[in-house]
Every structure is written in structure tokens, then in C-alpha cells.
């Protein structure tokens, strides 16, 4: 039996993410990580406060970054323009990164399947770079940020639907070092 506590900050972040107006076209992406958090948000009856492990989001951890800043931004088809929603997420990423200056990111650009392989590799590189540039403009040291393009090689939703494509067009900010464990 686990007791799951979610910090006040995390709850705010979840509701913020869930109520965000999503990427313009064609269908709003689901936000996978916050959804997972919500589904696990069940407080089981308490038997003992002292002997059970307590789940909480450690400040400065990878989970903290994903939950409270957001680790993915989404793009329109064949575009690397940052939407206002994407810029809002990146502002939170930058603030978080400025709080944890040892953290390094690998920013991966991803595309949906409706393009040819090499063109999508180039497009993914643009998306990753757009995120990097935005974070640098918000004060993150560029030496902390590496970019990579996976083109259409790493879809997170395997379906061939508008909803899947809009999730698969993203830039993912993965912490590679420096996080609190």
C-alpha cells in the first residue's frame, strides 16, 4: 500500500496543463505525462503515517521538470514556429533551468509521418533548434543545451490520425545530467 501525495505545486501545474488551449491544428494533443499523474492521483486509506513510503515530486528532479515545467512542446504541420502555448511551456522550462543550473538538456525534434525521411530529419533539426534558441534568449546558457533530430523515427502515438500526428510533431526536452535524483 502506497500513500501518494502530490504537492500543491504539482496540482497547479497539472490543472494548468490540462486547461491549456492546445496547438492550433488540427486536433489538440493529449498531454501524456500530466494525464498519467492525474490517473494515479488516488489517495488510499491511511493506516500508518510513519512506516509507508511517501511519493512526492522531488524539486530539481526529472519528474519535477516534466511535471512542473513540461518537457514537450508541439508544432503545426511542416512548421517550426513556436506557438504561444509552446512559448509558455518554454518560459517555465527556462525558469526551471535557471533554478537548477547544473542541469543539461538534450532537445529532440520530432515530426509526424506525413513527410519523407530526410526532409523530416531537417525539419526536426529546425524544431529542436527553435526550442534551444528560445531557451537561450530566456537566459539559459547554450552550453547546457544539445539538439538532435529524429525526424519521423520516434513517434509517441503510433496511430495515423490527426490526434496522433499533432502529438508526434514536437520537441522533447530530456534532462541528460544534473538533475536531483
Amino acid at each position: 500500500m502506497k500513500i501518494q501525495l502530490i504537492s500543491l505545486a504539482a496540482v497547479f501545474a497539472i490543472s494548468a496543463c490540462a486547461s491549456e488551449p492546445k496547438v492550433a491544428e488540427p486536433v489538440a494533443p493529449a498531454a501524456p505525462e500530466p494525464q498519467h499523474q492525474v490517473s494515479s492521483h488516488r489517495v488510499t486509506p491511511v493506516q500508518s503515517h510513519t512506516t509507508q513510503p511517501i511519493h512526492t515530486v522531488t524539486p530539481g528532479s526529472i519528474e519535477d521538470f516534466a511535471t512542473n515545467a513540461g518537457d514537450r512542446v508541439y508544432f503545426a504541420y511542416d512548421s517550426y514556429t513556436l506557438s504561444s502555448e509552446a512559448r509558455a511551456v518554454l518560459a517555465k522550462q527556462a525558469a526551471w533551468l535557471n533554478s537548477y543550473p547544473r542541469v543539461r538538456l538534450l532537445i529532440a525534434g520530432n515530426c509526424d509521418e506525413r513527410g519523407t525521411r530526410e526532409y523530416n530529419l531537417a525539419l526536426g533539426a529546425r524544431r529542436a533548434s527553435a526550442v534551444k534558441e528560445y531557451l537561450v534568449n530566456l537566459g539559459v546558457d547554450p552550453s547546457r543545451l544539445t539538439t538532435i533530430s529524429y525526424g519521423k523515427e520516434r513517434p509517441i502515438d503510433p496511430r495515423s490520425t490527426n490526434a496522433a500526428w499533432s502529438i508526434n510533431r514536437n520537441a522533447h526536452s530530456a534532462i541528460v545530467s544534473g538533475a536531483v535524483s
Partner: protein
């Protein structure tokens, strides 16, 4: 992975018969929907059971090659009145005419010793009653399939006047696993799907392999390093190396027609431009410097021009430039998004992938952008590669959403669309030149 040499002695076998007026049987492969030429091809003969068994297997591979070309229809061996047991004898042409064979191929296998087989073949024009071709080939026993492919190439060349494409190989990406966590390995196989072998372990992703003009090297994109990079793979030695010390991700590699250079895209600050690397000196030269995507470069066969993909006009389209990067001009002007251009080895056409109204197509156009023809349509067709004679294209096809990709082939005429048999899902085919 060594490609062993096959000694090919083009037999100038002198027969008593007149081979003067032997131009009767000719196949025009430029036509769209032609009737396949009926061909009789009995099992190759032999004087022992092992020879006859090998003769049967070789004949089967030759038949399959010729049938797949769409230009030939091999008549059912059960219908043959005569079996042409001794290939040195003139056939009884009348008996082959009864079953309506236009041509007859007869062959013989000799196992000279445990390390060497010899195959003799004769091609006859049944109606002109003339001897068209005689050849003798020798190789090691395990190489028998290559003998069969060479025989198929010889028949193709004799009857169409153009070189064949059967003694060739395909490098491709072998795919497995779920779409969200796909394993992609470099693999190589014979043109007919036989002898498929993995060249990389699957612990890292590899994409877009292409052959060198000698078929001894492959260049491809590998994610085995921190920065995804263009690699070279030596088929003879199995050695892999990063190509160049570029300050960023490199991808979309292709050899120059003389094999001395590799052209590719380099990403700097998120922008992809086209660079060329000299393989001997390892010097690199930048060819494009636009803020747009410039990728998928492919040389013209004379090495003077490069076709590539760019979105400098607002959407992905095809452009041509000189090898020094000068005189960039757009060639694709019809409706749709164009990408992945590949120059034909004959020089007269450029194959491409086109997206229009939610479908993907393989098509061709002339280098001046005129004469566009769409050859295929599916949920996702992409990445064409030319047969060495410029008559057939292979490409990746995802027939329906979610169905794994498979390699398909289609004739330049748009006819003869068929799936290439691979052990599992497959994509990114690249056709080798004819093997020496």
C-alpha cells in the same frame, strides 16, 4: 561478405548454322503494356544427380528473374515436348514452336571439383531457328545463384538491347518492433531477396543507406554516435567509420558517380545545407547557404549537376544546381510537395516522392521539370532508387496506415508493380550497380 568474382567467358561458340539473320527476336522495353515474350527454359542438364539438382535450382532462379521483369513469360516446363538434353545439339525448333515458345534457353551444369562448378548456356531464337547467345561461366559452388542472375542478365541484354539488373544487390533498412520503439538495422540482400544479411546489430538506428558505384561501400546515417552522422561501411572488411568531422549532424548522404565524393546535408544552428566531402583528402566544401532546408542531394550521372530538395520557395520542392553550387533553379512546378529526388543512371529522368491530397506517390520528371509522370499511389510511398539500367524503381511502401513498410518495385512504364520479398518489414532500399 566478399563478392567473389565470376569468370565469364562469353562463348563465341561457332555452330554450323547460319546466325546471320538473327534480329528476328527483339523486345522493346520502352512500351507500357506489352505482351511478355514466351520463353522455354528447361531445367539445366547434368551428367550426375548433384549436377541435375543444381541445374534445376539455377533454372528456377533464372525463370524467377525473367518473370519478375515483366518482359518474359516462362512456359510451364510440363508442356515441353523436347527437353534439350544435350545443349550442344541444335534444338528441334518445330517442337518448341508447337508450344509457342519464341526463345529457348538451355543450360548444362558441370561440377568440376568440390570447389568449382561450370555452367554452359545457349539461347536460341525458335522462329528464326538461329543461335542467339552462348556463354560459359565458372565459380565456386556456393555462388551458384550469381551464375543464374548473370544468365538472366545475358538474356535480358540479348533480347532487349539494354543491360540487365539481376546480378545486383539491395541495401536496405530491416525494421522490427512496435512503431513507437522501432528497431532499424542495416541489411543487404540479393536483388531477388535471397541471402539477406544484417550489417548492424539493431542497438542503434540506421537510416538511408546508399551504394558506392563499385558496390563495395555503403554510406548511411547512423545514430550510433552522440551526434547522428554519415558513416561509411566497407562491405569487404565490415569496417564502419564516421565520415568527416563535421560540426553538427550530417545526413542524407550519396556518392558521386565516380565514387570519390559523398554529398550530404549538414545541420548548423538548426539549418540544413548541402556539403560535399572528398573521400581521399577529407576536405569538405559547402554548396548551399540558404536559411531554408536543403537536403536529399543526388548527382547527375555525368557528375556535372546536383538535384536536391529545398523548402526555400515555401514548401518542399526540387531544385537543380551545378556541382559548384551555382545556378540554383527550381524544376518542380506542379501541385504538391516534392522530395527525395534521385537522378536516373541514364541521366534522362529524375525520380521523386510527391505528396498530394493525403497520398504519397513515386514519379519521374525530366531534369528540365517537364514530362512529369506519376507511377505509384499509396498511403505512404517514398524514397525511390533506380535499377542500374534505369528501367525499374524500388521504393518503400506503407500500403495502409499502420501496416509496416515494405520494399516494392515498379517499372519506369508504371507497369509491373510488385512487392519485393524481404524477411521482415523493410524500407529505404538502395540498388547496387551491376556486380563485376
Amino acid at each position: 561478405m566478399t563478392i567473389r568474382k565470376i569468370t565469364l567467358i562469353i562463348g563465341i561458340i561457332v555452330f554450323g548454322l547460319a546466325s546471320g539473320a538473327n534480329a528476328a527476336l527483339e523486345i522493346d522495353i520502352t512500351r507500357g503494356h506489352l505482351d511478355p515474350t514466351p520463353l522455354a527454359l528447361p531445367d539445366f542438364s547434368g551428367s550426375s544427380v548433384p549436377e541435375r539438382e543444381l541445374g534445376q535450382k539455377i533454372a528456377e532462379v533464372v525463370r524467377a528473374d525473367l518473370e519478375r521483369s515483366g518482359l518474359f513469360r516462362v512456359l510451364d516446363p510440363a508442356s515441353y515436348i523436347e527437353q534439350q538434353r544435350n545443349i550442344d545439339m541444335q534444338p528441334k525448333f518445330a517442337e518448341w514452336r508447337v508450344i509457342k515458345a519464341d526463345a529457348l534457353l538451355a543450360g548444362r551444369v558441370v561440377i568440376e571439383d568440390e570447389n568449382r562448378i561450370r555452367v554452359d548456356m545457349r539461347l536460341w531464337d525458335v522462329f528464326a531457328e538461329s543461335h542467339l547467345l552462348g556463354q560459359q561461366m565458372g565459380t565456386t559452388p556456393e555462388n551458384w545463384r550469381r551464375i543464374a542472375h548473370k544468365i538472366a542478365d545475358s538474356i535480358y541484354q540479348k533480347l532487349t538491347g539494354e543491360s540487365g539488373y539481376f546480378d545486383t544487390r539491395i541495401v536496405y533498412i530491416a525494421e522490427s518492433g512496435p512503431k513507437t520503439n522501432r528497431t532499424k538495422r542495416l541489411a543487404i540482400m540479393d536483388q531477388d531477396g535471397a541471402n539477406s544479411t544484417f550489417l548492424t546489430p539493431g542497438s542503434y538506428t540506421v537510416l538511408t543507406p546508399r551504394f558506392s558505384p563499385t558496390a563495395q561501400q555503403i554510406t548511411y546515417l547512423s545514430y550510433s554516435t552522440m551526434v547522428p552522422s554519415v558513416f561509411l561501411f566497407n562491405i569487404e572488411t565490415g569496417r564502419q567509420e564516421v565520415l568527416g568531422d563535421f560540426p553538427g549532424m550530417t545526413f542524407a548522404p550519396r556518392f558521386s558517380p565516380d565514387g570519390k565524393k559523398v554529398i550530404m546535408s549538414l545541420v548548423q544552428n538548426g539549418n540544413s545545407d548541402i556539403w560535399v566531402m572528398d573521400l581521399r583528402t577529407r576536405t569538405r566544401t559547402r554548396l548551399t547557404s540558404s536559411p531554408a532546408i536543403d537536403t536529399s542531394p543526388s548527382f547527375s550521372p555525368d557528375g556535372s549537376k546536383i538535384v536536391f530538395n529545398s523548402d526555400r520557395g515555401g514548401s518542399p520542392q526540387l531544385y537543380i544546381m551545378n556541382v559548384d553550387g551555382s545556378d540554383i533553379h527550381r524544376i518542380s512546378f506542379n501541385k504538391g510537395r516534392y522530395s527525395a529526388p534521385v537522378w536516373s543512371p541514364r541521366g534522362d529522368l529524375i525520380a521523386f516522392t510527391k505528396q498530394l491530397k493525403g497520398k504519397f506517390h513515386i514519379g519521374v520528371m525530366r531534369p528540365d521539370g517537364q514530362g512529369e509522370r506519376i507511377l505509384t499511389t499509396a498511403y505512404l510511398d517514398e524514397g525511390p532508387t533506380w535499377s542500374p539500367n534505369g528501367r525499374v524503381l524500388m521504393f518503400s511502401r506503407e500500403a495502409r496506415p499502420g501496416s509496416g513498410p515494405q520494399i516494392w518495385s515498379v517499372d519506369l512504364t508504371g507497369a509491373n508493380l510488385r512487392k519485393v520479398i524481404t524477411p521482415g518489414d523493410s524500407s529505404d532500399p538502395a540498388w547496387s550497380p551491376l556486380i563485376e
